[in-house]
């Protein structure tokens, strides 16, 4: 109290430190957890909820779990209390199936190599401070073709039918292809929709509205069953390729609308400044409009990507076995009946890790691109 009453000459008031209760751990607790009676109640409720949920879950998933067994019965026999823990032995025994699907055993090194190459291709795309990034990006652009050759074979490698693809391999193929091709296509569609030229605009609007107006499952059915009727007889057109095209176009239509939202947020003054400096339409979009519009659209774009990634599970409806499909098929095994929890938790965890990473990356990107300016 002494400081508060101390008098200073006008114009000479020094800067005093804030009260102790406003900063540090105490300040954080006060502002974030106990700022009002309602907040106090919420905090206590959440603590109670976590207390009741997490310890049993942890016991089931970790402490009481069994990692080696050949049957469900053996699994349960190994537990102190039967059925009291997770039987991860089931997942462990089938992990190869979950990763590779039915990819021929002796050739699985090709899948492993593709995974490694994928990581090497993604890192320079996501992280821009890498030395020699320019060359790494050329490699990233070539990656789909390298991976395609490795996985499908031909040109010196033993060919593998795409209907033997499955599991995480299949999810990654559809997810990565869909994500990397739908963004550029979506941007072009968005620009087309905003074009002053009538024909491209109408074509883009028709495409976007048609694709958005139809459920993905319908498109997948069309890809699986009907597309061949439209093609000349005898055309061999791989089912996986058809699915990839459909998923990419589907997601591109959504991306187009997200990007259009971003484009609309760019003030007219930016275009005028670009015009008055003599930049062409192409230059202005490449250097000024798109960098800003895409930055604004990051949350929506990543949202669409996450949606697409999870929608890859829908291929199980046309008979392709992604991790969820493999899981469901595994559950039919009489030796392992009744372990649905383990399977679904495992599949959920796989998708969660992928999607959560995307979400965190998008936050990182937003922060990195923030230049202290908001419209």
């Amino acid at each position: 109290m002494a400081e508060a009453t101390q008098a200073y000459e006008v114009g000479r008031h020094p800067e005093l430190p804030p009260p102790r209760s406003e900063v540090g751990v105490l300040g954080w607790l006060k502002h974030n957890l106990f700022s009002s009676p309602f907040n106090v109640v919420l905090t206590l409720l959440v603590v109670w909820f976590l207390w009741t949920v997490i310890p049993p879950l942890f016991e089931w998933m970790v402490l009481n779990s069994v990692w080696t067994a050949d049957t469900r019965k053996e699994c349960w026999a190994r537990m102190a209390v039967p059925e009291d823990g997770a039987c991860w032995a089931f997942i462990k025994g089938r992990i190869q199936l979950f990763i590779y699907g039915f990819y021929p055993h002796p050739l699985r090194w090709r899948v492993n190599l593709s995974f490694v190459l994928l990581v090497l291709a993604i890192v320079p795309v996501l992280y821009d401070k890498l030395p020699g990034r320019k060359y790494a990006l050329w490699y990233a652009a070539a990656f789909p073709f390298i991976a395609g050759w490795l996985l499908v074979g031909g040109f010196g490698l033993t060919p593998v039918d795409t209907d033997q693809f499955g599991g995480i391999l299949l999810t990654l193929i559809i997810g990565v292809t869909g994500i990397s091709f739908s963004l550029p296509i979506g941007i072009l569609l968005a620009l087309g929709r905003r074009s002053t030229m009538l024909v491209p605009r109408v074509l883009c609007v028709l495409f976007i509205e048609f694709i958005r107006g139809v459920p993905l499952i319908t498109l997948l059915f069309v890809a699986a069953t009907m597309l061949n009727y439209f093609l000349p007889p005898g055309t061999v057109f791989d089912l996986l390729v058809r699915v990839l095209i459909m998923v990419t176009l589907f997601s591109a239509a959504y991306i187009a609308e997200v990007v259009r939202g971003g484009l609309q947020a760019i003030p007219r003054g930016q275009f005028e400044a670009a015009d008055s400096l003599g930049l062409t339409y192409f230059q202005a979009h490449l250097t000024i409009v798109l960098p800003q519009a895409l930055k604004i659209s990051i949350p929506g774009i990543v949202n669409t990507f996450i949606g697409l990634y999870k929608d890859t599970t829908l291929v199980l409806i046309i008979g392709m076995l992604d991790p969820l499909g493999i899981g469901r098929a595994s559950l039919a095994d009489p030796v392992w009946l009744g372990l649905a929890r383990e399977v679904y938790i495992f599949v959920a965890l796989f998708f969660f890790i992928c999607c959560f990473s995307m979400s965190r990356y998008s936050l990182y990107l937003e922060r990195k691109l923030h230049t202290g300016h908001n419209y």
Binding site: P267, G269, Q270, E272, A273, D275, S276, L277, G278, L279, Q283, T287, I288, P291, Q292, K295, L369, T371, G372, H373, N374
Partner: protein, 259 residues
């Protein structure tokens, strides 16, 4: 009447015509914004355009570099007529720089990148050369130390100076200013006006839409008063402020000078 010799120490201007507007009309939908505009601007001349808001001042200068399209009449800029021919528009935009009320800097680029962008893409300069020129111009507007900052980190006055430097970089023959100080806090107006006065002293042809009458008196060769889309009156600053002829000019001057 436009060729009034400039009084005092102000630099004069040559008789070469830089901009010739003849019978220019423009409509926004049904609204007749510009009515029969006839204006000749000579090389080195410094013109201030004033008038109430909505009188067509901004539209007039925006027609000169085709940010707006006029629908009737002729605009010739340094021998090139402004038509819908894209080559002509390009040629004219190379010669005419414009500074906006809202700065319109590119917020995702640093001050230096804002300046060097067009040099690299439009003038096809190598990056190092473009940045060297950009630095020179940042120096000229007295903020070389802000080169690596983003527009969002600069004050309004600094942003507007970067915007002026960005236009100057392209080495234009004519500089147009569309209310360059209207969006600024009072204490920042002077730093921008100082840069503009220096530019005027270097002999640049300038058209400035502004209500800064001190600036008009100090540097303009001619002050133009617009209202309802027409040029009502034009004269050298001394006569314009001391002996306005039309009643509308008198009314306008009394409103902006005695508030």
């Amino acid at each position: 009447m436009s060729d009034v010799a400039s009084p005092g120490s102000k630099p004069g201007f040559s008789s070469d015509v830089m901009i010739q507007m003849t019978g220019v009309h423009k409509w926004f939908g049904e609204f007749h914004v510009l009515k029969d505009i006839n204006l000749t601007v000579h090389k080195g001349e410094r013109i201030v355009i004033c008038g109430p808001s909505g009188s067509g001042k901004s539209t007039l200068i925006r027609c000169i570099n085709r940010l707006e399209e006029h629908q009737k009449g002729r605009i010739v800029v340094d021998g090139t007529e402004l038509t819908s021919d894209l080559k002509h528009i390009d040629t004219i935009r190379r010669e005419v720089g414009i500074v906006f009320q809202q700065f319109n800097l590119f917020p995702h680029l640093t001050a230096l990148e804002n300046l060097s962008l067009a040099l690299i893409w439009v003038r096809k300069m190598p990056k190092a050369k473009a940045e060297e020129i950009a630095m020179n111009y940042l120096d000229r507007v007295h903020i070389p130390e802000q080169a690596q900052k983003y527009p969002g980190q600069l004050s309004g006055g600094q942003q507007q100076r970067v915007a002026i430097a960005r236009s100057l970089c392209m080495n234009p023959k004519i500089m147009m200013f569309d209310e360059p100080t209207s969006a600024l806090d009072p204490e920042m107006i002077k730093e921008v006006l100082d840069v503009m006065v220096e530019l005027a002293e270097s002999g640049m042809t300038m058209i400035v839409v502004t209500h800064e009458m001190g600036f008009a008196t100090a540097v303009a060769n001619r002050v133009i008063f617009m209202d309802f889309g027409e040029i009502i009156e034009q004269n050298d600053p001394h006569n314009f402020f001391e002996n306005p002829k039309s009643d509308r000019t008198k009314l306008f001057l009394s409103q902006i000078l005695h508030h």
